[in-house]
Symmetry: C2
Subunit: 622 residues, 2 copies
């Protein structure tokens, strides 16, 4: 089930993260919020993202050899955008390599330092004096003298006298959110875990964390199994109302996915389920409702009203997730029917509201969520991008996991990798495996390269062989063919049965997805009284498997061309980052509630300009 994971530790920050083998250092650093300087967009040409790998350094790349001396290479210096992590690694990041605005992005969520890690769960080892006639305080009061006043479930109260006496009044009190949830024999204060989840429409990602330190212990992801009931939010809503048990069916399958990810992560980190005390979930409004088993029919009808908006502090058992039997679960607050907890989590994790100057967050998933922060105000909207960027609805699409092509570069010379003779397309594949499909970042790359090469027109036509431009290399020309169904296709890699291709229909899906997001950005900027050129900071979030190369994102019209590309930063899965932050910080939860309440929800379709903008955005920029 699990792709091979390797662990990488970043110095001097001391934070560690587990990543898929083959992940670039730049990516891994982004996952824990360390953004590096990459003026060239990760092409390996600018030499700004220098790091020193004191353990687990891969063979130097050609780009490394251009930038570093032999002595430096021997000392483990590499370009973070080139070096893949294939074995446990230790990476030192010099201050000069950190993105200048680094301290303002994802800092709170991720930075080392126990001062930010104040989770709701506390474990306190106590040795209580035994009761005597002169000190006949009730059991609970005796414990409260050491742990502070707590609420107590009747279930635990029933056992408390024998739990206390079994350990001769010595043991570890477990308190979450001022609620006593257990008294464990002996000192178990070193076993205190939690798990954060990003519940996407297409992809579910989990992170198992050590609540004492805020460290990642394991990460895991899978396809949201609800996709079998439809690949977008509305089809799930429709299914939920189509039979008496359909809502429960949707709830059961996502719960099952969460359980499986928990299994994977707990096995990998060797953590017992009963030492997991708290969960945090961020997802769009429909995903959160479905996870909780809350009716969603009203979310599919004008005016798309959620059942509730505040974050939910639940018992994990109410959700049905098997962690500690009295463990807790936090579900993020939502902003509106289609701007959910994942957006709140993203705004929280990126500290968007605190960026200097007008700032934009675009979280690209099956829905594209867009947030503009300007002069202390937050505007948020959602646009139905479709799941193309997560690899769905694309003929050879897949999510960012082992075997996924995550990067595509058209080389001027003719040495393609792999397989196609005379090929001039170079692919990066996740997990050092044979390529079996493309994830979102590869699609963006490929579309941009095809536009640049003139193989795809600005109207989105993938030209058939007979219409290809005259100057095209033979290598590229040979990749274009007509399929049996009449569609043009472009061969990315492979031969025979394991071909990875892009079809005309795939290009249309990308057009729709990118156009929806760009139109959304345009409307939201207009409503905020801004233009794209005003933006001082643009943060791109999403689980593409790689950071989307910003020049390519602009080339396909996902982002407005007017944005200075140096102001665009990839911040990874910001929803998961926010969920993780909320897991380890009760302060972050309070901030999440404030953000959700303080953000104005813009219904894009109500803007008179939306249809025009959308039609315009469907054309790829020239």
């Amino acid at each position: 089930m699990s792709d091979q994971q390797v662990r990488v530790t970043f110095e001097p920050h001391g934070r560690a993260v587990s990543v898929l083998s083959g992940t670039k250092v730049l990516e891994a650093a982004a996952q824990i919020g360390l953004a590096l300087e990459t003026p060239c967009g990760g092409a390996g040409t600018c030499g700004k993202c220098r790091v020193q790998m004191t353990a687990g350094a891969p063979k130097p790349s050609a780009a490394d050899r251009k930038v570093f001396s032999r002595q430096q290479l021997a000392g483990g210096w590499r370009l973070a955008c080139q070096a893949a992590i294939t074995s446990p690694a230790v990476v030192r990041i010099p201050d000069a390599s950190l993105f200048a605005n680094q301290h303002r992005i994802l800092v709170e969520a991720q930075k080392a330092g126990a001062d930010q890690v104040v989770p709701a769960v506390r474990k306190i080892y106590v040795e209580l004096p035994r009761a005597t006639l002169d000190d006949d305080a009730p059991d609970l009061l005796r414990l409260e003298r050491h742990v502070g006043a707590v609420k107590t479930d009747l279930e635990l109260l029933r056992e408390l006298p024998s739990l206390l006496r079994a350990g001769d009044f010595k043991g570890t009190a477990v308190v979450t959110d001022h609620r006593l949830i257990d008294f464990e024999p002996g000192d178990t204060s070193d076993r205190c875990c939690g798990a954060a989840f990003d519940i996407g429409t297409t992809t579910v990602v989990g992170s198992l964390m050590d609540l004492r330190t805020g460290d990642d212990l394991a990460v895991a992801s899978c396809v949201n199994p609800q996709v079998s009931f439809g690949d977008d939010v509305l089809s799930r809503i429709k299914h939920s109302g189509s039979c008496d048990d359909c809502l429960e069916e949707l709830r059961a399958v996502i719960l099952d996915a969460v359980e499986q990810l928990m299994d994977q992560m707990c096995a990998e980190a060797k953590v017992a389920r009963e030492h997991v005390y708290e969960l945090a979930f961020a997802g769009n409004t429909t995903m959160e409702h479905l996870l909780c088993g809350i009716e969603v029919t009203q979310l599919g009808q004008v005016p798309f009203v959620p059942a509730h908006a505040r974050g939910l502090m639940l018992r994990a058992a109410e959700l049905g997730v098997a962690i500690h039997k009295r463990g807790a679960a936090y579900v993020f607050p939502v902003i509106g029917g289609f701007v959910g907890g994942d957006t709140v989590a993203g705004v929280l994790a990126t500290r968007l509201a605190e960026q200097e100057g007008p700032s934009l967050l675009v979280d690209i998933g099956t829905n594209g969520e867009i947030v503009v922060a300007h002069q202390g105000k937050l505007l948020a909207a959602s646009t139905a991008a479709g799941p193309a960027f997560e690899g769905a609805r694309i003929s050879c699409g897949m999510r960012a996991t082992r075997g996924a092509i995550e990067k595509v570069v058209f080389q001027p010379s003719g040495h393609g990798t792999p397989a196609v003779p005379g090929g001039d397309v170079r692919c990066g594949v996740i997990g050092e495996a044979p390529p079996i499909g493309m994830c979102g970042s590869a699609l963006v790359d490929l579309a941009a390269e095809l536009l640049n090469a003139g193989i795809v027109t600005s109207e989105g036509r993938l030209l058939p062989p007979e219409e290809l431009p005259a100057g095209l290399s033979e290598g590229l020309r040979r990749r274009v063919s007509r399929r049996a169904d009449g569609q043009t296709q472009f061969l990315v890699t492979g031969g025979g049965e394991s071909q990875v291709t892009l079809t005309q229909r795939d290009v249309r899906e990308l057009q729709l997805a990118a156009g929806a997001i760009r139109a959304g950005i345009a409307i939201l900027l207009k409503q905020a009284g801004l233009t794209a050129a005003d933006l001082s900071c643009v943060l791109i979030a999403g689980a593409f498997g790689s950071f989307i190369r910003r020049n390519h994102a602009q080339r396909i019209g996902l982002l407005p061309a007017q944005i200075d590309h140096k102001r665009i930063h990839y911040v990874g899965n910001a929803s998961l980052s926010g969920a993780k932050w909320a897991l380890v910080s009760t302060k972050a939860r309070r901030q999440a509630e404030e953000l959700a309440r303080g953000t104005r929800h813009v219904e894009l379709s109500r803007d008179a300009d939306f249809q025009t903008q959308f039609a315009e955005a469907m054309i790829f920029p020239h």
Copy 2:
């Protein structure tokens, strides 16, 4: 199952109560906190307890005829201590008949007036505007605009969208303790009930109440079925630890009793279980722990430590009582291992802490709980009286229900009632039924009369026929006989198989019970720096079936002889009164918590004088 209940309404207070047929008006009034002047102790001789029964007046008694004119009798004037309620009645109480300190006793708990009735449960009928694009507030927020911010169980949140829409956003929100527990179709705000329970070691009493008005709708009582596991607290504790399921077994039987009383009361008042939203329970510490299923082993071992002391705010479902599926249950705070929530409830109901001058509350049950209030301080103790006053461990004892003799008077003349020829013993029987046993108040009467007649000595010997004093009437003399086992017995009433008798062993039980309580009073007064003569107010609580005649209580040594008998007042089942008050008043719950925390628990057995006092108290006063 249920004894016949009749309803009586008191004017001008407007409060109603259901009582067993045959209950004296004086008793019924005491049950809702209206204490009448009874300088003669209810003997029908002083004529102070005058009331006018505008409906349901019984035939005038001989005492009535002495006090009232023919015209007054025709107008329904009766002596409250004589008039039994046998059909639905309306009773007007003139101010002059109210006990002078009335306004200071049980006032809060019982008095009419909506200002005191502020229950945790609120029902609010709302008609919400439907959601529109311009008003797309989430469902819960839409409701909160009308009912205030509420917590919501996930269970309800799951259904909230369809509940709101099913009634087109019109319906009745049910909120308890700031928790939204339901949204009922239509306007159901007139159906809002709760039930209060006194869980005694021997007797369980419940009261179904209308939470809007604080009115009683029905009352019911039964023997605590745990008596089959032992008739005192310690034997229950011992049983709980004797097998793995024994604690659960004890919990299950008391729960079953509560359920049966709920059945009776709901049937009588024609109230649906789902319209009962809240429960309140007062009991001694062990009874409350067992009801909640909390371990009690530690309560049976020095230093007798409870699991917890604060009141519990639970879901009724956690306890297992079937009211509204998300209904709540309040369990009283306790003071110590043997001074429990029933004592707190009694102190609350009687406002003992606010009485002028040094005051004493004695709650006579299987345990006798004693509280002294003096200069703002409260001292409480418990003494193991045994269940004699509740009719248990007495050969012909029974609890105060239909067929129980509740009053015994030795008449100077020889016309006994019923059956014994030439008898000179007169009995009052509950429910106008043939007598089948004696309840606590009758035992006190009988013992006092036997002492007065010289048939029982101050050492507690029930004299055999040959030792009876010379001046004894023939009627009384003929009632004394020797049983086959050698014990002396006194025939109270009946002949043949339905005899009711008192045996030597019964007298010993009474001696123990009264002695334990009097010794407890003595120790507690000593620790408070008081003597019995200092007391300005003595309140006697308990479910005897009748108020204990105070001169008789002093005669048998239950209360110190030094107390001015005018300062002794019977306050009925104060534990139930306190539970009822807590049910209809959240303020009362806060007071209960303060009282429990502020009362000092005195462990009688640790006082060096206790054994001496107990030995002395075993002797009946001369």
